[in-house]
């Protein structure tokens, strides 16, 4: 069977031709939209990922043209390759919806519902998935698993309780860096991501584990607790970086750069890996060449409040001065003189750690 053979596969009554060897998930992603099953562990840019979370389960109602029997059980679409004439049911199958609801609930059994504290909230795949399936509550009444806290370096914060063991970060470290220093220790309920003997991860590209993490288990320490993603404005920017492509998304508030991440595509996967220098150390607007606002899905909470600035819209021009012969408007109160939030002399974005009470001493106000 050569690679050029095209297989005809029908997913949710939509027929598409894909090369042999394509997985059902990737075929569905080619169709796009709601037909594509959600994936928590599969990552197209990481070899060997997938098959762990079971959220991409689909029903194969017809195996292939030669063997039309349906597959007896639901299959993980990220690991099942297409056959010629295969018929797959994703959202049209009640069995799949039901199974996926169960999977979401199982993923949430040990996941703490601490979204108000978690920095990932608003861009968390597990949060999206659970709300999509109406499973945002919990029926679990027992103690959730807890772990001893590991400090894994100055840049990355590990919250093991939030981890869903998707192995994405392990594959990232394996495939992007020369030497992997963290992995999954122990088995079953005790399994946890850890660096062996609490060794700090220091590799130029290790920051990418933050982006691949579908939940808030690995977060950016330089951004920790500083702001919520939906109050920030994502901007595409680039810089001339000797180690990586330098193409990033800046998360701004005003002209402050609160966070730098890689650009993510419609499946939430990074487009280009970026290096640690770009991610953690370049927190000034002057370090970057800004290309324009990043397009964010209209249904995402991140797009709230961005009245002007989506691609294609422009900020309306101020006409006051023109109408009043060059006179500035009389301000009855400048909010920046009164408000204690967002003080000009306290640049939270430039702190390399989360803000503490020591950063907000009363005499600074």
């Amino acid at each position: 069977m050569s690679d050029s053979t095209l297989f005809k596969v029908t997913i949710d009554n939509i027929t598409i031709e894909v090369p042999a060897g394509t997985t059902v998930l990737n075929a569905a992603r080619k169709i796009g939209g709601e037909v594509a099953p959600p994936a928590m562990c599969y990552y197209s840019k990481l070899e060997g990922s997938g098959g762990k979370c079971r959220t991409c389960l689909v029903e194969v109602s017809k195996g292939s043209e030669k063997d039309p029997r349906p597959m007896p059980k639901l299959v993980a679409s990220c690991r099942t390759t297409v056959m010629d004439g295969m018929e797959v049911k994703n959202i049209t199958s009640e069995k799949v919806i039901d199974a996926r609801n169960g999977v979401v609930e199982f993923l949430l059994i040990n996941h703490p519902l601490d979204c108000p504290v978690c920095d990932q909230a608003g861009e968390c795949h597990l949060q999206d998935l659970s709300y999509e399936h109406g499973k945002e509550g919990t029926r679990y009444e027992f103690q959730r698993r807890t772990f001893k806290k590991h400090d894994i370096g100055p840049y990355i914060q590990l919250h093991m309780t939030r981890c869903i063991l998707c192995y994405r970060c392990v594959y990232t470290a394996d495939q992007l860096t020369n030497k992997r220093e963290h992995g999954i220790l122990d088995r079953g309920d005790h399994a946890e991501i850890a660096t062996f003997i609490e060794k700090s991860l220091d590799n130029d590209f290790i920051g990418n584990v933050i982006d691949v993490c579908p939940v808030g288990a690995l977060t950016d320490k330089t951004f920790r607790f500083k702001n919520r993603v939906w109050f920030l404005k994502p901007m595409d920017a680039h810089r001339d970086c000797p180690t990586c492509s330098g193409k990033v998304t800046l998360w701004n508030r005003g002209d402050e750069v609160f966070r730098v991440t890689a650009r993510k595509d419609q499946w939430g996967e990074v487009e280009d890996w970026i290096c640690n220098t770009c991610r953690f150390e370049k927190k000034k607007t002057s370090d970057w060449v800004i290309e324009g606002p990043r397009m964010i899905d209209r249904h995402s909470v991140i797009s709230q409040g961005h009245y002007a600035g989506n691609v294609g819209t422009t900020i309306p021009t101020e006409t006051f001065e023109k109408v009043h012969n060059g006179r500035q408007p009389n301000l009855l109160m400048d909010i920046h003189d009164v408000s204690n939030v967002n003080k000009q002399h306290i640049r939270l974005s430039l702190l390399e750690r989360p803000a503490h009470s020591t950063d907000f001493t009363p005499n600074q106000d």
Binding site: V117, F225, F231, Q304, G305, V341, P354, A355, H356, F360
Partner: protein, 180 residues
């Protein structure tokens, strides 16, 4: 012209009768109505001495709540600010240091929390959005002020008194229907 309503009345141009020209019967009739009100129930109250009870759904000034141990409940999750239709709420989060466990309930807290009462429309959506039961609207009005500055309420203005060190003020701030 066609009449707009059926209740229109034609103006009477008839000259007044003798009784009407006397005026006194009409005045007496009017005074009778006036004096009869002395014996009726008063619809008004003597405001500063007497106060009307608020309805249980009244939405007044915001209060930042504490838990039963006196720790601040707010975790600066920003849901009140994102729910606020008037964009009156701003905040800055911070990480709890070791030794501050008795002050803040969770590892993240609001170091700064501000409500612009000039913008606030007292809709109560912040109260509804709060996942931590940290903000609610009390049974008091925002008091008047001479300057606009006075309407920017910071955390020290909003935070409820500590239930352990000042239980009476705490109960007062919580309001009548929350205590019962």
């Amino acid at each position: 012209m066609q009449a707009l309503t059926s209740r229109g009345k034609e103006v009477s141009r008839k000259p007044m009768s003798f009784m009407e020209r006397l005026y006194i019967p009409s005045i007496l009739k009017g005074m009778a109505i006036t004096f009869s009100h002395i014996f009726k129930k008063q619809p008004t109250i003597h405001y500063p001495e007497q106060k009307r009870e608020f309805s249980p759904v009244f939405r007044g000034l915001h209060v930042l709540n504490r838990d039963e141990e006196g720790r601040e409940r707010c975790t600066a999750c920003g849901l009140c600010a994102v729910a606020c239709p008037a964009e009156a709420i701003t905040m800055e989060g911070a990480e709890r240091l070791e030794g501050e466990e008795n002050k803040y309930r969770e590892e993240k807290y609001a170091a700064k929390y501000e409500i612009n009462m000039l913008r606030c429309i007292f809709c109560g959506l912040c109260e509804e959005a709060c996942p931590k039961d940290a903000i609610y609207l009390s049974e008091t009005f925002a008091p008047a002020n001479f300057t606009r500055k006075g309407f920017i309420y910071g955390k020290e203005d909003l935070l409820i008194p500590d239930p352990i060190t000042a239980p009476e003020e705490f109960a007062k701030a919580r309001g009548a229907h929350r205590n019962n």
